[in-house]
Amino acid sequence: MQARYLKPLRVIISLFFLVFAAMIFIDFRDSFSENFISSFLFLQFAPSVVKIIQVAAISALGFLVVLMLTVLFGRVYCSTICPLGIFQDAVSWISVKLRRKKWPYRYTRPHNILRYSLLGLTVIFMVFGSILILNLLDPYSNFGRFMTYFAKPVVLGINNWVAPMLMSGGIYTLYPVTLPAIRWEVMMFPLAMLILVIWLSLKYGRLYCNTVCPVGTLLGYISRVSLVQIYIDEQSCTKCGRCDRICKSSCMSFREGLVDFSRCVACYNCLRICPDNAVKYSANHGRKINLMALNPVAPLKQSVTPQDNDTTGMIDDSKRSFILTALMMLFGINRFAKGAVEDIPEPEQDTTIPEDKNYPVSPPGSISLKHFNKACTACTLCVSVCPTHVLQPSLLEYGVGGFLQPRMDFHAGFCNFDCTSCGEVCPTGAILPLSVDEKHVTQIGVVKFERENCVVYTDNTSCGACSEHCPTRACDMVPYIGELTIPEVDESTCIGCGACEYICPTRPYRAIYVDGNPGHMIADRPETERVEREVDFDDFPF
């Protein structure tokens, strides 16, 4: 294939990934099967890496494919698979069209200290069992949050405005959907990131990917040795400078004839723009030329090595540690990480959790708060697919380390007894898939009943909404006064689905509610006796 056609090919594939990535987050009609979603997200790098630390599963090997692609062809991931990368391309493309600026970019030096520090910090945190920095910087998760917090409300708003109009015209293809409002505090960080990403992409193309993004930095580091690289063939080059000015990664210097391939996101725009066929994309040759070209123009880089300067040793350490961690991840050695986790404090219960609840509730399949908090990158996919909207983003309910990770909010909804969607779609292994049967006995929290808050007690009226909604009879109505019955709870069969809390009519405090289990337990199966009753079809008791 001619190199010129690589760009259109890249655009087509990237649009596929962008559109579907956006749609699985925005969808509010159960349009995609859990199977489709999880296969679609197979290649997302950061979730896959986090997942392999949790589970040695084939479904977690997407990152290996990406690594292989990078070793062969450079950062094709960043331009064709990463939804945030493609999103930035879309933003810059629109802005370039609007501003009619033909040559929007130019070569700049890499921000090595910043990018390797952020990558190092991400890895160090992960080694010590905290996913916080990855959570904040991961492109896939940030993209997910943008979609859930900002795109979805817009689409939903349009849907809810149009649907009633169509319905009154007898067309029922759309129906309104009401989602629980997301708290503004939760939206602040994603909003700041959205502004940062848009601003950077408007002004500097792919600067986010080459300074902030830990995935970009890691893949960039690897792509320095990629087999197939872009390089400038000095022989044919007429120094027209087009490639330099079209490169959104600002990694091509036509003057020096160099390509900093660690920052190249493999968009192939330069291949298409070069009038002299001087920009090449081929094996081996490119690597040599790029390395040679890079070395003379990077005197700074040499002083950065620890032999020469101890104060910058941190940078090198971080590189080493990430290589180490990457290797450990590769071989699925997670003992190191597990051992370190013991040092991470439990979620801070005192600050934000209501007095009568001791722990937040993490979704079924997340094993324990500890497991969940160290594996969830808060991409909000589970929030998006949860049919009852019980999964809502937290702010600091899990503590700082669990910033923005979803929690079970029983005021927003309750966990559907037979639903296992969140575990089936979770790309990081924070929520592991459960069979429906396992789900039926997975106790994520336990019920607590405050008799003196109960409307039956306070108002002497019948209610029973909690018992009505309880799928396991952990909440049963027992005789109270006269005809009245009052709830009685059985913690052993409770799975903490929160149906009772959700439906309980008392305010401001609910008479019945669920307190989280820091480690999920196995509930007893409800004991039911088979109803024995002779039915005589000839007998009408009236």
């Binding site: 159960d30 009154s168 015209g169 409307v455 009226t461 019948s462 209610c463 019955t485 039915v535």
Partner: protein
């Protein structure tokens, strides 16, 4: 549908909806709308068959569904689809019965048959897993959402003791004929749930009822509007752990069906099938006292059919 036709229809529908809603006093309207059908019996009970054939026998004994459904009318069929469980668990109305009712409505000349419930579990899953969505589609009816407050309109309940107002789904207000198709089952809060209780699926704020004397609210709401016909599914009857049930252990194959234009009578007869005395069930007794209908079965002409 062509664009012009669509525009015309939407304007028309909007106008009708708007003007309908600007009037009040629906009780009288509905009161007069209840057809004084020449039915041979006040109540028909069938035992020992499959839901479809029991309904066929019962409606035949009642003189045919044409007594209630006239040509070109729109019909609302309101089953219980409250729960995301499979039909074998008996928590929702039998899908086969719903299908047969819709077919009979079309046979009687209905213009359209719509179905909805304001479900307790997630409505999409409840519609699917109850088998009712598939049944409705197979019969040519339309199953519509009942999950959004925007569908609900304010009504008043002047004869209610406790309940004075409610929000009712517009599909109920718009339908010419309202057929209530509850399932008979045990209920932790309301003792048992049949026809009267099934109407909690056409209103919006159920929590208020739970907080404010549930039994009285159920009975009060019965004074607002009687469904034109009540068809009680007592095929698989959940005898314990209702209304959701835990397993098929809760089920007795009662293989029965009760139909009556009188909600209270239908509930009284079904309660007896269940093994309860109607006057012991708070909302049945209260509805009887409010004159919604009668629970005194001995004063009614009843046809009993064994299949």
């Amino acid at each position: 549908m062509k664009r012009r036709e669509f525009l015309r229809k939407s304007v028309g529908a909007g106008f009708v909806a708007g003007t309908t809603l600007s009037f009040t006093g629906y009780n009288k309207l509905f009161g007069s709308e209840i057809p004084e059908a020449d039915t041979p019996y006040d109540l028909v009970a069938v035992r020992g068959g499959e839901p479809e054939e029991m309904f066929d026998k019962a409606i035949e004994a009642m003189g045919g569904l044409g007594n209630w459904v006239k040509p070109n009318q729109s019909v609302l069929v309101k089953p219980n689809i409250g729960w995301d469980v499979i039909p074998e668990r008996g928590a929702n109305t039998n899908p086969g019965l719903v299908k047969r009712i819709i077919e009979k409505c079309y046979e009687a000349g209905a213009r359209e048959v719509v179905v909805f419930d304001h479900t307790c579990d997630n409505w999409r899953r409840s519609y699917q897993n109850s088998g009712i969505e598939a049944a409705v589609n197979a019969a040519g009816g339309r199953i519509l959402p009942g999950n959004d407050e925007r569908f609900f309109r304010d009504i008043t309940v002047p004869r209610g003791k406790q309940l004075k107002e409610a929000k009712v789904h517009e599909l109920v207000l718009n339908a010419d004929v309202f057929i209530n198709v509850p399932v008979l089952k045990h209920h932790g809060g309301a003792q048992i749930t049949i026809a009267l209780k099934n109407l909690m699926g056409i209103i919006w704020d159920r929590r208020w009822w739970h907080r404010n004397n549930l039994q009285q609210c159920i009975a009060d709401f019965g004074t607002w509007r009687q469904p034109d016909l009540n068809i009680v599914d007592a095929y698989r009857v959940m005898m314990q752990n209702g209304p959701r049930g835990v397993s098929e252990d809760d089920i007795v194959m009662m293989k029965s069906l009760v139909i009556s234009p009188d909600m209270v009578a239908a509930d009284a007869a079904s309660a007896r099938l269940f093994g309860a005395e109607p006057h012991q069930i708070g909302h049945i007794r209260m509805a009887h006292e409010l004159g919604v209908g009668t629970m005194e079965l001995e004063n009614l002409s009843i046809q009993r059919i064994v299949v």
